[in-house]
């Protein structure tokens, strides 16, 4: 009782400081987040609904949306599988090189996206290690769809694994061990014990991974070659339109990404709430 009163007093001691802090935080948010967000939609609808709609259903825009969705459809499942496997082996087993694996998972976070893209150019490009062999067999990776998918996969590697590792570490191995002693096979243990326990963390990781895969610019820009209607993802298409002074088009397509971000944020909030439950 006494301590709660003291705490209340400590809070109310200087209201000016309190309002100043809250006020500056809100001002900062308004200036750096809310205003740009609103600008996207204001600019997108500058010439009305029809212009907005035309900018989105235009073939090049549709092709960029299609390509982005395809990158997501491949990169997210692959990284989910990898993330679960990595988190499972890191948290449930002891092996040599475990710490190295933990560090390796983080590499895409540590290096600049441009470098991530360049890695693939240096490997598969015309002057790259296996570029000439690929050219001989008429396989195109750089400046083509496979390169974009590879680059997207690379930058989104850590999301699922990073989300699962701390959660699975906190849970320990006892439930899995209990299942094994009770006669469950490895697969039964995974699907009946491990997976139900991590499902919300896994969802969270997948949401973050999807958002990043949709919005990735740097790495994809390096390997894409910016061929309109062929190797442009949504972010790259926005950049081209903007450089051509087609502001309505650029902001209309950008508004799609913004909407997706807002949906992601809402989903993330729901999942966070589920986890805390």
């Amino acid at each position: 009782m006494e301590s709660s009163q003291q705490r209340a007093r400590a809070h109310s001691e200087n209201p000016i400081v309190r309002y100043l802090l809250i006020g500056s935080a809100l001002l900062f948010l308004a200036f750096f987040l809310v205003t740009p967000l609103l600008t996207v939609f204001i600019e997108a609808f500058d010439k009305g609904w029809d212009a907005y709609r035309a900018a989105i259903v235009e073939p090049d825009a549709l092709s960029s949306i299609y390509l982005s969705l395809m990158a997501v459809a491949i990169a997210v499942p692959v990284n989910t599988l990898f993330g679960v496997a990595a988190a499972w082996s890191i948290t449930k087993f002891d092996f040599i090189g475990k710490n190295i694996l933990v560090t390796l998972v983080d590499i895409p976070f540590a290096v600049s996206p441009i470098i991530s893209g360049l890695i693939f150019v240096l490997m598969f490009g015309a002057q790259g290690w296996i570029g000439p062999w690929l050219a001989e067999h008429d396989i195109r990776i750089i400046f083509a769809v496979p390169g974009i998918i590879l680059a997207t996969m690379f930058v989104t590697v850590p999301f699922v694994a990073r989300e699962l590792i701390p959660h699975m570490q906190a849970q320990g191995r006892e439930e899995e061990e209990a299942a094994l002693v009770l006669g469950a096979t490895g697969l039964q243990t995974f699907f009946r014990v491990t997976l139900p326990n991590i499902r919300w963390s896994l969802m969270y990781g997948i949401i973050l991974c999807t958002a990043r895969a949709m919005g990735e610019f740097g790495a994809v820009a390096v390997v894409s070659g910016h061929i309109r209607g062929q190797t442009n993802t949504i972010p790259l298409h926005v950049e081209i339109l903007y450089n051509e002074y087609n502001f309505v088009g650029a902001f209309a397509v950008a508004s799609l990404l913004t909407l997706m971000a807002i949906v992601t944020l809402a989903l993330k909030k729901i999942v966070e709430w589920k986890i805390s439950e």
């Binding site: 439930e175 061990e177 209990a178 299942a179 094994l180 002693v181 009770l182 006669g183 009946r192």
Partner: protein, 363 residues
């Protein structure tokens, strides 16, 4: 089912958890592995279960080598210290788990599984929580559900890792007697790990006392309590008073008194330690012979049937603990700060070489 542990060793990195441990557990016997933390008792239990593999040595179940058999194929039930209940499953689903994951060829029908689970829940007196989740149960209830889950697959051996470690004192005592009754009812071999000597001595048929990866002594509770093999076992199984002294040609001089130690008759003046339990110290107002020590009473704790006293020896500043009956306290009219004479009725002398066998000496 009998368990034979044959010269098992295990190291984790540079830490030697078990050093050449051998132990046999008879059919339907209840054995306690007792030792301080880090003594290797949990590792030994996990090796029996197949959750860890020994570096050397073997595990025989019913005479068959099971060292390379997986945990699920050993017919053992394991109860974890922190229960390890599946948190996303109800109590019912938890207990049914072992039956539901069986291969289709031997799996029971849904109705049979249900019946079996309800029988087990009745056995642990918790059939009314079947639809709850583990988070909605108390610690004692979770422990009993963990036990029911382990029993569901009809194990031949039940292994329990500090089964009552995380419970409060009253629930512990209740579950302890309950486990003993249950063991006598279902008749499986049981091995349980504990660091609580009272628990080990009260529940088990035999106790194995471990220290730093070795088994120091195995025997019935009474046997190990009355005839500790070495100073470690002695001090681990209850409070003790130490008297430092020396042994020379069959006579030990510990403190102010002398004890005959014929088995050390060849010892040529070696350091030795005498041990006496608190209830083996006799208090008196008058000095009786040359064997008494004088001491000052620091504290009298008169809770329970016996009275515990903390005493300080006048010559050496050593602290002694004595335990006397209430009648004795009334008779002597002892008060804090007064002087008394202490005479150990029984001292066990261990020479500084641990390989020597100790004996008891009546003074």
């Amino acid at each position: 089912m009998s368990i034979d542990i044959k010269s098992v060793s295990k190291t984790f990195g540079t830490f030697e958890a078990l050093k050449n441990v051998s132990l046999s557990v008879g059919d339907a016997e209840l054995v306690a592995l007792l030792g301080p933390s880090g003594s290797g008792k949990t590792t030994l239990l996990r090796i029996i279960a197949g959750l860890d593999t020994p570096d050397t040595g073997s595990i025989l179940l019913n005479g068959d080598d099971a060292t390379n058999r997986g945990a699920g194929d050993r017919g053992v039930g394991f109860v974890f210290q922190h229960y390890a209940l599946f948190r996303h499953m109800t109590v019912m689903e938890n207990v049914a788990f072992g039956l539901r994951v069986q291969p289709k060829s031997i799996r029971k029908s849904k109705a049979d599984i249900r019946d079996r689970v309800m029988t087990l829940l009745k056995l642990v007196q918790l059939d009314w929580v079947a639809q709850r989740y583990p988070a909605q149960l108390s610690g004692g209830q979770r422990q009993r559900i963990a036990l029911a889950r382990a029993l569901a697959v009809e194990p031949k051996v039940l292994l329990l890792d500090e089964p009552f470690g995380a419970l409060d004192a009253r629930v512990r005592r209740e579950l302890r007697t309950w486990l003993r009754r249950l063991h006598d009812e279902i008749n499986v071999s049981c091995v349980f790990v504990t660091h609580d000597q009272e628990e080990a001595l009260e529940v088990s048929d035999r106790v194995a006392i471990l220290d730093s990866g070795r088994i120091e002594q195995v025997g019935t509770p009474q046997n190990v309590y009355d005839n500790p093999a070495n100073p470690f076992v002695y001090s681990f199984l209850g409070n003790v008073n130490l008297f430092h002294g020396r042994v020379k040609e069959g006579k030990a001089t510990v403190g102010d008194f002398e004890v005959d130690t014929p088995e050390y008759r060849n010892a040529s003046d070696s350091p030795a330690v005498g041990y006496s339990r608190p209830h083996e110290l006799e208090l008196s107002r008058e000095r009786s012979g040359n064997d008494s020590l004088s001491a000052v009473i620091l504290q009298i704790q008169a809770v329970g049937p016996n009275v515990k006293l903390r005493l300080k020896r006048t010559e050496s500043e050593d602290i002694l603990e004595a335990e006397i009956t209430r009648e004795k306290l009334r008779e002597l009219e002892l008060k804090t700060g007064e002087s008394v004479f202490v005479k150990p009725r029984l001292v066990r002398v261990f020479i500084a070489d641990p390989s020597e066998t100790p004996l008891n000496y009546q003074i």
